[in-house]
Structure formats: structure tokens, C-alpha cells
Amino acid sequence: MILELKKLSKSFGSIKVLKNINLKIDNNECVGIIGPNGAGKSTLFNVIAGHLKHDIGDVIYKNININNKSNEQRARFGIVQSFQKNSMFPEMTVLESIMLAISHRLNITFQLFTNLNSNIRILNEAFEIIKNIGLDKYSNSRSDALSYGLQRQLEIGIAIACSPTLLLLDEPTAGMSPLETKNIIRLIKNLSKNYTIVIVEHDMEVIYNLAHRIYVLDRGKIIFNGESEEIKNSKLVQDKYLGIENV
């Protein structure tokens, strides 16, 4: 097991956003988290990544309690997140962004007198990642000049350049055209061969396509967990979420 959440709760003032969450994720699994808006999916992601501190419970990562670890430390442990809203380095090119992320994995970010952009080893590795995420035509384009869909691909590229052991993808297909969604599904499918992935998504087709197991969150509680077919046949999930989605 790579990640375990034990009796985890989080409140914002008097509003309980996460209530007694218990969740387990195994190595090389692709786990989907679904739920209506306001169910607490992004909060759960932010708690796992360390952007938010939870109130009660434990976050166990590779059998180590990481409750007190900052988000930077968690990223260095291998928990890397891609954000719901595109979040890049706008003035950097695709290549520079990926090279920067690699510098973190190699732990050379405090080097003062070596030239990052002319490091052949990092450069080759960056090109390899850029090819994998399908941005090879855009390696010298500025991040802010890319289309929305290509920026989502770059988001994932930056995350995988850190060689994560746990990749958290927050709505990777949000706002995408059908073609772009298809590309992202193909990309994540390829990644799921090598990485443990947790994915929050509204598009059920994407989730059914990618996730081995799905957790259903409703008003901060996990109300169901199972495989795609079980989710499809669950009356509870139909009533609480899929029914609403279909309306």
C-alpha cells in the first residue's frame, strides 16, 4: 500500500468539509474520486498534497505518518499534484518548465554556478518527457502561449518530470474539447502503467476509462467504493450522484 487515510476530518470554520475519511491506495493503482460539486474532492486532494492541514486523523504514506510534513516535503517524497486550474510558469518555455521540474527530482536546486539549460543529461530527459506528453512540437513555445488543452498536458508533464510515486490529477479533462479529452485519456492510460494515480474527475466516461477503483464522495463522506461496474450498478451512487449528473 502506498497511501492510507485514517479517520481524516477537515473543517472550514463550522462547515465540516471532510468527515471521517478512510481510504487506501495500492501501488500502481489508478483510483478515481467522484462526487457532486462541494463534496470535498479538491479539499481531499489538497490535504493529501499538504496544501491544507487536516484537523483529525492520519495521512500515512509508504507506512510513514506524514501529518506534519509540508507540501514541499511531500512533493519531495513523491506526492505530486496537478491543479484543477492550469498552474504553470507562464514566462518559461515548455522545455524550461520540464527541466526545472527535473532539477527538483535530481535535488540540484541549490546549485549556484552550473547552467541548468545547458545540462545535456537533463535536456535529453526533458525532451523524452515532452515527447511522452505529446508536446514535442511546442518545446520552445512559452507556456502561456499554449492552448488550454496543451497547457493541461504540460501540467501533467511538469508533475511526471518530478518522477512521482503518487500522482494526484485534479480534473485533468475539465474544459477540454472531445479531441483533447481523448488525448489526455491516452496520456494518463500510458502513465498508469508506471505510476500510482489518483484522479478527481466529473466526466464519468473518463473515470470508467481510467480508474481501477472508484471512491464516491458526498458531503465530505465516502459513501461507496468499488470497481466501475459496481459503481454503475449501485443504487446509492445512482441516487446520490449519477442520477443528479444525468438530469
Partner: protein, 330 residues
Amino acid sequence: MDYMEDKMKAVNYNPRLRLHLFIVLVVSALISIFFGGYFTRFFIAEIAILSIFAMSLDFLAARGGLVSLGHAMFLGIGAYSTTIFILNLGISPFIATILSLLIGCFIGLLISYFIVVLNGIFFIMVTLALGEMFHAWVFTSELLGGSDGISGIIRPDISFMGIDMNDPFIFAIYSLLWMSLIYFILSRITDSPLGRNLDALRQNHMRLSAIGGYAKVYKIIAFTISSGVASIAGSLYVQLNGFISPELTHWTVSGEGLIMIIVGGIGSISGAILGASVVYILQHELSNFISWWMLIVGLLFILVVLFMQDGLWGLIEKLRLRLLKGKNKI
């Protein structure tokens, strides 16, 4: 943070153009030193020292995303510590400069530990307050000569090599060497993994943290380096003039430094040297003819901010691209 990020979209990074511009500027300075008279040489030394100060502000603003209105304090720390080392402790001026650099770095490190967590307008106001506190202290301190300042500061003595540092030609070359050294060090740092991370920090600190970047530590390092560089400028400034006055630590000096880097083009390093040269030459030349020269400099600054946010650097880059396009057409 958002406020300053909006104000700081124009940050330039082009290592090749940076080096080319630097070479042009240094060659121009050398020509002026060789063929100019006493005042020209003194003037070039002053510009070189101001350029070091401008580079310190540029590094902090462009790499760390931090705009300081109190950086003249470090100019003052370098200047006053050099003065004390030379006059009170009898330490040689060159060693005094090195010690001032270390003191500047140390104080920068201490201060930055507490203030780099602040963003945008809050960071600016705290640096302004710190700078003004320092200014008020030196203005009233008997040890530091109060409002009268201190005179009698000497330059490095290398007469055993047959070189007289009191010769403005030699001191201009000496200042230019320091400026070049600082330029090369800051350029190396800018291109290094740390420099690129500092750039990324200014652009999106949340994303940087999410991939494992220690935003606070990077900012502390940027502030410390910048403080040390400003202290060197202060140390050289008192050796050039042989005199230190509290005016050097006033916040308007930091403000002028910021004007220089905006006119030159933030983040380009050699743009800071260009900005310092242009603003200082303009100030000097205009003040010879008209009493309301500040109005013209202010107007120029407003025009640059409104229409040329990449500063003169941006203009040069555009011209270069146009020339390259023209060549390709032929």
C-alpha cells in the same frame, strides 16, 4: 503577491543578448575612460558603482519577485562598515570591501528570514520602514558622524605595484572590474538551477511548492545575495568619494535604483547597467542646463512604464529581432 506580479510581467531572460549588451557597455565605458578627462573618469566610476547597486535590486526584483524600497540601507551598511574598518580599525580598503560584503550578507540573511514571507505591497512597506529606521539611526548617531557624515576615507593602496589608486583612471578601471565581476556572478546564478527556480518562484510560487521547491529558502538566498551586492556598491562609493553622508541611505536612493532597472529592463542584468547609465547621464546632463530636470526624468520614467514595460532592453530585443527578420528576407 498578485498586485506585484501584475506589475512585474516584464521580466527579461536572454543570456546571449545579456552578454552582448554587457560587452557593448563595458567597451563604451573603456573608451570613455581612455579618452575622457578627469571628470569623465570619475563619472564612469560613479556609474559603475551605481550599476552594481542597480544589479542588486534587479536580481531581487526579477529573480525573487521582491521589490525593496529600503535597499539603500545595504548601500549604507557597506559604506559605513567600510568607513569604520578603514578609519577606526586600520584595515586595508580592499579587505574592508570584502568584510562589508560579508556583513551585508549576514544582515540581509537575518532580516530576510523574517520578512520574505510578506508579499507585494507589504514587503515593499516593511523594507521602506527598515530603510527609514536605518536612515534615522545613522542621521543621529555620533559614532557614524550624524548628519555631517564622515570624511577621510582612503582607497586601496597598491603603490608597491607602481599603481596609484587615487588616479581617477585607475579607480574607474577598478570600479569597472568590480562591476564586471558582479555581473558574471549574478549571470551565473541566474542561469543556475537556483536562478531558474527563483525565476519560477516569481512566476508561480504555488506551482513551485507543489513540485518540491522551498519558496522561503529561495527568497532568503536571493535577498542575502542582493544585500551583499548592494553592500559592495556602498563600500566602493565611499572609497570613490572619500566621504559618507546619511543621504546615501535615504529611501529615495532605492527609488532611483528601481527607476534605473525599470528604464533598463527588469531581469536582464545588463539592462540594469544600461538603465543606471542612461538615468545617471540624463540626470547629470539635464541638471547642467535646466533646474527642472527631475520633471523630464519623471516624464521619461512614466513613458517607459506606460509604453515600454521591457525597458530599453525590450527595445533592443525588438530591434534585434527586426534586423534578424530583415536578414532572413534577404
